[in-house]
């Protein structure tokens, strides 16, 4: 009887651990990832994905961008995702007009085994909105900052 109880307790513990793992994993994902999945292959959208050797010069491991024509629904979606993800940011540079993020640079903290992560966003004067997500090693920060401040 005691052995049976011990088995059931062990099973319950393992189930709880598995549940915690699922929750923890989901929280690590950024909200903006859903933007690429939802709108990246739509008509009127341009989505770029670069990884590996193509990014060696920039000391990046991953580059994803999406440019969409102005659409209220999509923009609201992006805004909500940025509001969620920027809570994790350790560095923020953004411009907000009438409650709307019109441009933003967010650097998310480095975690164990994870690189620096960057989110860039801007609503352009040409009626488009561009969202960029990048991952890079520790030496990517300086280069990205230089590129972002001004590139001519």
């Amino acid at each position: 009887m005691r052995t049976k109880k011990r088995y059931y307790r062990l099973l319950l513990l393992l189930l709880l651990l598995t549940g915690y793992a699922v929750t923890g994993q989901a929280q690590e994902n950024l909200s903006i990832n859903s933007i690429f999945g939802k709108y990246g292959k739509q008509k009127g959208a341009t989505m770029v994905v670069l990884s590996g050797e193509a990014l060696n010069n920039y000391r990046l491991d991953l580059y994803r961008s999406i440019t969409v024509k102005y659409d209220r629904v999509i923009l609201e979606d992006i805004q909500q995702c940025l509001e969620m993800d920027k809570k994790q940011a350790r560095q923020i540079k953004e411009v907000i007009n009438n409650g709307i993020i019109t441009s933003g640079y967010y650097q998310l903290p480095e975690e164990k085994n994870r690189m620096n992560r960057y989110i860039l966003f801007k609503i352009g004067s040409d009626g488009t909105a561009t969202l960029i997500y990048m991952e890079g090693g520790a030496d990517s920060e300086e280069l990205i900052n230089q590129l972002f401040i001004r590139r001519k």
Binding site: K41, T46, S51, A54, L62, T67, S103, T130
Partner: protein, 153 residues
């Protein structure tokens, strides 16, 4: 029934009462007394060996039941044990997969661009679109400089 066989039976009976019969010989006696048409001088022993025959059969049945029960209990215990082990292993496997950190928060790798729903993999084209997208997020002016300038005006 021939005389030799009767002699053998008598000898076995004597041996039985002396406690020297083997189990095979006792079975011979039980089988002999189970049949009809026994000689008159041996009929008095029939109830004894028939009882013993019944008892040995009852014991064999009981032993069979006990073995079945033990086998069933062992089977249930094994099932419980291996079922628990399988459940633990499955949980650990699931936890291992879920806890293994990905090198990227996205599963999409490679180099390509989707333009109006069309996928392009030409490296030069992909790079051009990447540079174009990065240019689009460049600020027109330095944000902090702009703010400070507002105070000086």
């Amino acid at each position: 029934m021939n005389n030799n066989m009767l002699t053998d039976i008598h000898r076995l009976i004597e041996k039985y009462f002396e406690g020297q019969t083997s189990s095979g010989e006792e079975k011979m006696l039980r089988d002999y007394f189970a049949q009809p048409g026994l000689p008159d001088d041996l009929k008095e022993y029939a109830p004894l060996f028939r009882f013993l025959d019944n008892e040995s059969k009852a014991i064999a049945v009981l032993n069979g039941i006990r073995l079945d029960d033990e086998a069933a209990v062992r089977w249930r215990q094994s099932l419980r044990k291996y079922g628990t082990i399988a459940a633990v292993a499955a949980s650990l496997f699931i936890a291992l997969i879920l806890l293994t950190p990905e090198t990227s928060s996205t599963s999409q790798k490679g180099n390509y661009v989707w333009v109006d729903g069309q996928r392009i993999t030409d490296p030069r084209t992909v790079r051009e679109y990447a540079e174009l997208s990065f240019d689009k997020v460049q600020p027109e002016n330095d944000i902090i400089a702009d703010q400070l300038r507002a105070f000086s005006e």
